[in-house]
């Protein structure tokens, strides 16, 4: 491609974008909207999956809370009985004091908040390790029949819920993203249509002259690409600002409650590179598609 042609293509594309800036802004806005929704979905799914994974590693076990007032002998008996249950690999006892201490340790300086507690709110707990996750339901059912067991918590349930949630967000997000994607393509194709109409005489003339395809289509496709690219850049900026703000906000506010948060949430810098590539690709893709739809319809001569 010669420099003259490139210059012509860029000049025409920029001229049209400027002349047609309201529609251009709408196009950029629509691409940004699609990508922000998509980015939101991606980030939520990524985080939920991450949480589920971390949770799985940490909580591949059953916690049996012992009711208040059960005496030590009874507790020991229970432990022995638990070991007998089919599917149980190991049983470990955790006193309520240990639970409180470990929370205090986790909270660090914020542990001051716990200083005024008159009673230890944590229960004595048996941690039951399973031989096989598939036996979880069976074991839980048996554990619940014991007297003195206040509650049985199996974190695999929470993990499953998280995975289900991620799945739901994925499906829902994919649906919305596809609809918005189509809307964006439509809006961009309309913008390009307006460009074609406003340059109709010139474009027709070019077709009569037998202008090379690059001259006729180049500026129109470039315009679509630029709109898509600008939309994706705005989306990247907004998502990154929004995400880092959210993380900082959560970290600042709930540091005491979820001190291990950094492990659960995926950091901005972790997703930045991928997100930039995904967004720019989709943005440019929407732009090209919008242009092509319009060209097919309106370059009729």
């Amino acid at each position: 491609m010669n420099p003259k042609k490139i210059k012509y293509i860029f000049k025409q594309a920029f001229k049209s974008m400027w002349r047609n800036r309201m529609m251009g802004a709408a196009s950029i806005g629509s691409v940004t909207a699609v990508l922000i929704i998509l980015g939101f979905v991606l980030i939520v799914v990524l985080n939920v999956n991450n949480m589920a994974m971390v949770a799985k590693e940490t909580f591949d076990q059953i916690a049996v809370y012992i009711a208040e007032g059960v005496d030590e002998d009874q507790i020991e008996e229970m432990g022995k009985a638990f070991r007998e249950i089919d599917g149980v690999m190991a049983v470990a006892f955790q006193t309520k004091d240990y639970a409180l201490e470990s929370v205090k340790k986790d909270w660090g300086e914020d542990a001051i908040l716990l200083q005024d507690l008159r009673n230890n709110p944590f229960p004595d707990t048996y941690i039951v390790q399973l031989t096989d996750v598939s036996k979880a339901d069976e074991v839980i059912a048996k554990l619940q029949t014991f007297e003195g067991v206040e509650r049985v918590r199996y974190y695999q349930d929470a993990v499953n819920t998280l995975i289900k949630l991620a799945d739901f967000v994925k499906r829902f997000g994919a649906g919305i993203t596809i609809v918005l994607l189509l809307i964006s393509v439509f809006i961009i194709s309309n913008t390009i249509k307006i460009t074609v109409l406003s340059r109709q005489r010139e474009i027709e003339l070019m077709q009569y002259i037998g202008a090379t395809n690059g001259y006729v289509r180049g500026p129109l496709i470039l315009e679509g690409i630029m709109l898509g690219l600008l939309g994706s850049l705005v989306a990247i900026l907004l998502i990154m600002l929004g995400y880092s703000y959210t993380i900082n906000y959560l970290a600042g506010r709930y540091v005491a409650l979820i001190s291990g948060m950094s492990g659960y949430l995926v950091g901005v810098e972790m997703v930045l590179d991928d997100l930039i590539i995904i967004f720019m690709t989709i943005g440019v893709g929407i732009g090209i598609l919008g242009s092509l739809v319009s060209l097919k319809k309106f370059l009729s001569i």
């Binding site: 010669n2 003259k4 027709e204 009569y208 002259i209 037998g210 202008a211 001259y215 001569i301």
Partner: protein
Amino acid sequence: MIEFSHVTKIYKKTFTAVKDINLKIDKGEFIFIVGKSGAGKSTLIKLLLREISPTQGIITYNNQDINKIRKRSLAEYRRKIGFIFQDYRLLPKLTVYENVAFAMEMICAPSKNIRREVPLVLSMVGLSDKAKYYPDELSGGEQQRVAIARAIINKPETVIADEPTGNLDLETSKEIMKILAEINRRGTTVIMATHDREIVNFFQKRVIELKSGIIIRDTRTGGYEDEPEED
């Protein structure tokens, strides 16, 4: 070189624009296509430019069925034909020189060739001294001469003009015709649609007359005076 065989074009399934056209045009001919507006002149030209496709029949150019040309090769085909419009279609923001050079740029001609060819063609149409003018600073006849220069700059085999003198007075029209005749004399086939009787009678070239989409006359050299009720 150009051949229409049994060409029919029906618009929207109901309106027959041209019917069973059989026509042979040799290289180097000068042809007037005459008839009232609505007789089918424009349809014939659009068919030849492959702006539209015939409902029936075959149109060949250099023995190639033009309706079998792929879309991507269409530009190449159109370069064989220089087209002149009734309303000139100059780009208003470009000078005379730039308007003509535009046609060369669009087919990626080297700058060197553009700088060499454009002045030559402008001098042929007698506009050397107006190269830096803008279209709205020119008279109608001058604008049409720029359009002719643009049509021939890429050395097409055929020039098609659709009512090129339609917006011009007789004297100016004759100047335009002289240029077209000169182009033809240099070997280019010229096909001109018109309903300007005086022009046709003055030049005495081959005349194809259309009426209601049918060729009613094809005279080797002749005038266009048979139908006095023409406007």
